[in-house]
Amino acid sequence: MEQTFPRLLLDHARQRPHAPALREKELGIWQTLDWAALAALVRDLAHGFAAAGLARGQHLVVIGENRPRLYAAMLAAQSLGAIPVPLYQDAVAAEFAYPLQNAEVAFAVVEDQEQVDKLLEIRGQCPALRRIWFDDPRGLRHYAADGLASIDGLCDDGRAHAMRHPGWFEREVEAGRPGDVAAMFFTSGTTGHPKGVVHTHTSLIDRAQAGARFDRLTSDEEVLAYLPCAWIGQNVFSYAQWLACGYVVNCPESASTVSIDLKEIGPTYYFAPPRVFEGLLTSVTIRMEDAGAPKRWLFAKAMALAHRVGPALMDGKPVDAWERFKYRLGDLAIYGPLRNALGFSRVRVAYTAGEAIGPDLFSFYRSIGINLKQLYGSTETAVFVCLQPDHEAKSDTVGVPIDGVEIRLADSGEILVRSPGLLQGYYKNPAATAEVLDADGWYRTGDAGFLDAGGHLKIIDRAKDVGRLRGGAFDGAMFAPKYVENKLKFFAFVKEAVAFGDGRDRVCAFVNIDFEAVGNWAERRNLAYAGYTDLAGKPEVLALIKDCVEKVNADLAQDERLAGSQVTRFLVLHKELDADDGELTRTRKVRRGAIADKYAVLIDALYDGKASQYIETAVRFEDGRSGSVSAELRIEQAATFPPTRRAA
């Protein structure tokens, strides 16, 4: 394959010059840029960059929302062999300093005053930064900083340069090799500095095309680009695949108009992390609660039917003719209009990725006829590793390896990937590169998982958290705490869960109730309670949570590899796990070690077989005072199930 992004652009411009490439809503009207006009813009920008001194192999930082001219700037940089480095537009100024220093960036193209201000603020730390071009001149008229100019000015420079150097642009594009570096993405490291992930034209284009073949994408797709293009997910969907397939990318008017623009465009191909889908569902739920009683009744009725029938229809399974008829009626009255209200009328393929998605959330979208699927990938793999085929979407797997991907499991359970889409390396960081990429080209994902009977990849946890059971009936079985905890947390009544089992003979867990959900539940049953600790200790609540745990156990028993992770005993904690008490991180992740130390007596009680345990815990209140909570916690036994082998 001898393709680079600029060559793909020129091919589109030659073959179908007047087909739309980009749309942006300006002054209330969708303005279209066709491929020929885009190519002309890219040529002007490339000449402009050259006139300013940007050379092959240098980096160009791009910061801003999805804007046609920023996309063109990335293409222009690639045309002359420079490397675009998109950064997150919502980052604070200080976060730009490291990438700029690391990549010795001298040139930046940004969206507006906000980004210009941030770059000027850190200019002292980044002396290499010579030129900054902005797209939107608003508020920048009186800025007199050195090297600051508008993109319009850049284009003018470019046209002047083009007059003096005819044929230069074509020669530069011709000189680009597919193996050249195409772009660099900085990954947000949780510790230390972010790392620059270097991708070549080959790796990005190969993955983009493999994904497109998998879902039979054509040049007729419509995509709305509304997530940061510094995130490789958005970049692949609205840049790499855009050029590979030649479909239309639409840029929303502003961040606040995305839902309106979504409705107007009606994308056919859609990508969002689970939180976006969750937000959409919440807005629907809230609006339905405001509706009148008859409408609510109808909606509930229709959704119950959809829940029963929808996913099966989506998966192409046989469905009773009467049910099918009723579903069609529902589609006419409820599901169709609902899809339209969400802007999903024309969606053919929708993907979610990034985090675990709750089964209810997942099946909601599939039940109303939206082909929502999951995929697995990361910045380092150019996204596409595993995708779910149309009729095999499940909430707990992430799909099958697609074209060109090899998957292998390390002894530790870690998933290793080999594909043409792997990163070339981390920028200026051979040590980090060597850590994840071995000599045979296998990339260590850091995720633990396995391929299930149907060949679907199942991610269970971060590899470093996965442990083993020792002794007992499941000696040596894999234990993935987060997998178990997530399953528990998908119940509305469970706020947090902490599972123990590494190096032990069975799995036990702490559960935190969701005060609001359980409180509501108790009120509806006229169950009086005095506060969190009291509610958490009610026998009725324990029974409720026991029911949740046993459902999880039944689910875990479905897979023999995870059957050992069934929760045998659990207790409901008397206080909410809190970041102030050092039990959670600030981003609300469980701090397993801290909790194990603090509640050692409870863990011992769980494994000793005691029926209850007294505990007194110091707590810190929000106003800085501290106090203590004490309770006699009952320890519950949960039913477990024998493993069943299932043919998926």
């Binding site: 604070v92 906000e114 800025y143 008017e253 502003s254 108009t257």
Partner: protein, 312 residues
């Protein structure tokens, strides 16, 4: 009353830009990005002089206005220069809104002269005064929003274009040929204002359903649609939260900066006034007790007494 507190707050807020504050007042206060709330890092090198403040365009001389026995304004004189931001402040009932109403012709003062670009406004008959002021590019917003609640944001702002529409009713109704072309041109102007005020997401929303801060923004938008040369703002930030106030400040400064519009504003929040205005007039019970740059006004003992003593 909180007046004393706001005086103190203002003192703290404007301590930073000391020297060139007259020119820079606009820049220094600009809350850079509404989303980020980050501090604008404008430093010496790019603080180019923004707008150039010109000559006097509006003169108010010895205005006295009374309602029966109540003297709302008593012998007030001040002037407004081209392109400046001029604030009128004072405790409740000081006569601030009455002053604005005199300027744009709603009230006829019993004594005194108002001259706008050399013309004697106060000599015009009450019937023509309002319209003539509007035609001469004086627009205003209202303290108690006077928007068309049932109409969309777009239509409300479009109504501000009324004076600029040339085709008569019949043409407009037919919406053909020249009338259509005219409407498209007006719509473009309105869309630019919507873009400027960042209310794209609410373009088609009925105004009555919007939060108060946004309604205020629409009110400003409608005034801007007149393409005014002088903008009279009656408490543009009343009832807003801090973030909405920051946004509104930025829009006012941007209007002033981008279009060179002269702005006369009434405001309660001293911090805001001191940050964004070039010169301030202080009224108290219908009298003028201070006039000058924010620093001068802040140091004026009579102003301090009025504010500290005005608490009830």
């Amino acid at each position: 009353m909180s007046a004393s507190l706001t005086v103190n707050a203002a003192g703290g807020a404007s301590a930073a830009p000391s020297g060139a504050q007259f020119q820079e007042a606009g820049n220094a206060a600009a809350p850079a990005a509404p989303a980020q709330g980050a501090v604008s890092p404008r430093s010496g090198d790019d603080a180019a002089p923004g707008r150039r403040i010109g000559g006097v365009i509006l003169e108010v001389e010895h205005i006295t206005l009374s309602f029966g026995g109540v003297k709302a304004l008593n012998d007030i004189s001040f002037d407004v220069r081209e392109h400046e931001i001029r604030a009128i402040i004072g405790p409740n009932g000081a006569g601030k809104s009455s002053m604005l109403n005199c300027i744009n012709g709603v009230y006829q003062p019993q004594q005194g002269d108002i001259r706008y670009r050399g013309e004697q406004v106060s000599q015009w008959s009450p019937r023509t005064r309002l319209r003539r002021m509007a035609e001469r590019g004086v627009a205003r917003t209202f303290q108690n929003l006077a928007l068309f609640k049932g109409m969309s944001v777009l239509d409300n702002i479009m109504s501000g274009r009324n004076l600029h529409m040339k085709r008569h009713l019949l043409w407009q109704a037919l919406r053909l040929g020249p009338a259509l072309r005219e409407e498209i041109a007006h719509r473009e102007k309105v869309e630019r204002i919507i873009d400027f005020l960042e209310i794209q997401a609410h373009r088609k929303t009925p105004v009555g359903g919007l939060p108060y801060g946004l309604q205020k923004r629409v009110d400003l938008g409608r005034a801007l649609a007149m393409e005014p040369r002088v903008l009279l703002l009656d408490e543009p930030m009343a009832g807003m939260n801090v973030e909405e106030k920051q946004d509104m400040c930025r829009f006012i400064l941007d209007v002033n900066d981008e279009f060179g519009t002269t702005i006369v504003l009434i405001e309660h929040d001293m911090g805001v006034v001191m940050d964004i205005s070039d010169r301030v007039v202080v009224l108290d019970y219908g009298r003028k007790i201070g006039d000058g740059t924010p620093d001068e006004v802040r140091a004026n003992p009579e102003v301090i007494r009025a504010y500290l003593g005005a608490g009830e």
